[in-house]
């Protein structure tokens, strides 16, 4: 054991000892982040329509003491809490967009032990944690040596394709020691790699010239059903591990009229980038074949595509995160990310994604977060930030 390693271990030990007290203090200060979770969460923020929520985020950054917070040309809000030394930065980020449309009633209900409403877990509470960090650190008496770079990024989900975070990281040329992506749910989540993903939308259209008397003629629903069965016959390799998920099917609106149009949304995730390329090719070919054989028009639009990336399980950042989770009684759930962590790591920065609390009914309008686990979730975030600042997360 080198002297330096030994010193780090002692420092980590000392940090871990302070965690239980930290958790209780974060319970005392909960209004700081719960209020922002509600105020931010009640502003509709669909992907590509996040500007109102971002405006409040930047106001909060300013009120909480950030130096010159700004909204960049892509719509992200960011700001810096200067450190005592400031040689490098630690990035803490949360996405501001949600899966809910502006027409959804964005009203949150606050109970004694829970908050319920659309998008509270994904990602109003995560966003509030980032926005409230400067004030929380002040309340906790924590001064960082590094600059703290806070980012609430837009265009993360679905068709957003991580554009907000990626654009920010491409243009913000600062030395970043490490980054933490904050998600509301689920506590225990530990992502240190970004999994390769291909997201696509297949649109089926029955042309006006369609011959309804031909053999096998039918409406869009039947065609899409057959097409899904054909996709499912594409062999999925076990190694590298690959998975396909159908996430949305839209077709028809009545009882007795065959629809002429429908769409299917899917995601393929794989540990092998070449598998994703191959799958894209196969789905494209299948679309072409199906169109010709049935007289319909099928088109694949690739909405998002990202490659595998990550840091090793043995990386000190991952190791320290696990130690902090362990101290808080949180069981790590290792899960590769398809979210903003991908942009962070591909930009060359070590990073992890953490989940703050437990949740129910994710992505439903009655999405619910539990408050009791949240204090441990917040303690996990603050302690990891301190650990990075102390240099405990570097090789």
């Amino acid at each position: 054991m080198t002297i330096e390693t030994s010193t780090k271990e002692v420092s980590l030990e000392s940090l871990l000892k302070k965690i239980p007290k930290q958790r209780e203090r974060l319970r005392e200060f909960r209004e700081t982040y719960l209020t922002d979770a509600v105020l931010l969460g009640e502003i509709p923020s669909p992907t590509f329509g996040e500007q109102d929520r971002i405006r409040l985020a930047v106001d909060r950054f300013r009120e909480n003491g950030l130096e010159d917070p700004e909204i960049d040309e892509f719509g992200n809000a960011s700001g810096i809490l200067p450190g005592t030394e400031g040689g490098s930065s630690i990035l803490v980020m949360a996405h501001a967009d949600t899966v809910f449309s502006p027409e959804t009633r964005h009203v949150l209900n606050v109970g004694a032990d829970h908050i319920t409403g659309p998008g509270i877990a994904d990602n109003a509470i995560g966003l509030a944690a980032v926005v409230g960090l400067p004030k929380l650190l002040d309340q906790l008496g924590v001064r960082l040596k590094d600059d703290l770079l806070l980012l609430t990024n837009v265009r993360s989900l679905g068709r957003g394709n991580l554009e907000g975070a990626r654009s920010f990281l491409e243009t913000k040329q600062r030395p970043i020691r490490a980054g933490i992506c904050v998600e509301g749910a689920t506590q225990g989540r530990l992502s240190y790699s970004g999994i390769g993903a291909l997201r696509g939308e297949i649109t089926l259209q029955i042309p006006s010239s369609y011959d309804w008397n031909r053999f096998g003629a039918s409406g869009a629903i039947s065609h899409l059903t057959r097409f899904i069965n054909q996709i499912l016959e594409i062999p999925m390799p076990k190694e590298p591990m690959t998975r396909m998920t159908f996430g949305g099917l839209r077709c028809g609106s009545s009882f007795n009229t065959s629809p002429r149009r429908g769409s299917l949304r899917f995601e393929i995730t794989s540990e092998g980038d070449e598998i994703l390329n191959d799958m894209e090719k196969q789905v494209n070919e299948l679309c072409e074949q199906f169109s010709l054989e049935t007289g319909t028009q099928l088109e694949l639009e690739v909405v998002a595509k990202r490659q595998n990336c990550g840091i090793p399980f043995t990386h000190p950042l991952v190791k320290t995160t696990r130690a902090i989770m362990n101290e808080l009684g949180i069981t790590p759930n290792v899960d590769p990310s398809t979210g903003d962590l991908n942009s962070l790591i591909r930009a060359g920065h070590p990073g992890v994604t953490l989940g703050l609390t437990t949740a129910e009914n994710l992505r439903d309008e009655n999405e619910t977060i539990h408050l009791e686990p949240l204090y441990a979730g917040m303690a996990q975030l603050v302690s990891l930030l301190q650990a990075i600042d102390m240099g405990l997360c570097e090789s």
Binding site: E31, L34, V38, L108, N109, V110
Partner: protein, 326 residues
């Protein structure tokens, strides 16, 4: 519109956006040595009370110390209203525990009246508990005119802008009882008070010295009586109103509104008589009657609605003792 009315509307109608700088409000409040209490009257409001307490307390007591005291005064909820409110840091009281010497009556007006005794602020701001889109503007928008202008004593909320838009004039968006009962009555007997855009809104702020000298109906008539009594004493210039934009709340059934109107009418006619606007007053019935049809059979439903009133707080001995020796 008369020139006087127009002047009042111009001078005494505000939009909450004018008071966005809460820090400035706090400074002004402190300079004037004012203290402000916030009271939320409740009865079975566990679904919305948590958010109201969380947001108003966090924003207006901790972040910006505009409010000095925050109380939830409850009529005896059978749900978790008090537990939830207390968990987010509100001072919670049962109305029956306040001034036990004068007894206990059930109704929102009772809670508002007892708040005058229980709370210490020079200004008391009342906010209903059923607002699902609660925001700090519901408080700072109402107390700001009282902080800035000494001649204003009572500030009412309203929620839609009755302004000329490109698509034409939008209605005031008042509730059903406002539009088909209160506005016609005011037009008949108190035309100047028709300037108050939403006379029944449950959110208002007032100076202690005016709240303590007026009686409080304990039921549906409390908002109406405030307007009539203060108008008689101070005229329209004592009032102001603030546009708080949108307010999302529970929708009431027509039957419930009928019962509410019955209570308001009792208060209204009592005031008309007391202020000499009508000579003779028959003994008014206290039973509200309506019909229900079931399987083709008409049944009359009868409910007793008595608009009891509490006297001006200044007449209560315990209050006088408290004021003299706090």
């Amino acid at each position: 519109m008369s020139k006087k009315k127009k002047q009042w509307l111009d001078r005494n109608t505000f939009h909450h956006g004018e008071f966005w700088d809460i820090l400035k409000l706090v400074e002004e409040k402190e300079k004037k040595g004012l203290s402000i209490s916030l009271c939320i009257p409740t009865l079975n409001e566990e679904k919305t009370i948590g958010k109201e307490v969380l947001i108003l307390r966090s924003e207006l007591m901790e972040r910006y110390p505009l409010i000095d005291e925050f109380a939830v005064i409850d009529s005896g909820s059978s749900d978790k209203t008090l537990e939830v409110a207390a968990s987010y840091g509100a001072d919670v009281y049962l109305a029956s525990d306040i001034l036990p010497e004068v007894g206990d009556k059930r109704g929102k007006g009772e809670n508002l009246w007892k708040a005058i005794h229980q709370l210490n602020g020079d200004v008391i701001c009342y906010v209903d508990a059923d607002i699902s889109n609660i925001h700090p503007r519901f408080v700072y928008g109402l107390v700001a005119p009282l902080i800035h202008r000494e001649e204003i004593h009572y500030v009412k909320a309203f929620y839609d802008r009755p302004l000329n838009y490109s698509s034409g004039l939008r209605s005031t968006g008042g509730g059903r009882v406002t539009e088909i009962l209160i506005r016609p009555l005011f037009s008949l007997f108190y035309p100047e008070l028709t300037n108050v855009i939403q006379p029944l809104s449950g959110e208002y702020a007032a100076r202690r010295e005016v709240l303590e000298i007026i009686p409080f109906p304990i039921g549906y008539g409390v908002e109406t009586s405030h307007l009539l009594d203060l108008y008689e004493k101070f005229g329209l210039d004592a009032f102001a109103q603030t546009d708080l934009d949108r307010r999302v709340h529970r929708n009431q059934t027509t039957n419930a509104l009928g019962k509410m109107s019955f209570g308001i009418l009792q208060t209204f006619f009592n005031r008309l008589h007391a202020q000499g606007k009508i000579d003779q007053m028959p003994n008014m019935e206290t039973f509200y009657r309506r019909f229900e049809v079931e399987d083709g059979v008409y049944n009359q439903l009868v409910q007793e609605v008595v608009e009891e009133e509490r006297p001006p707080m200044i007449e209560i001995e315990e209050y006088l003792n408290r004021v003299v020796s706090p």
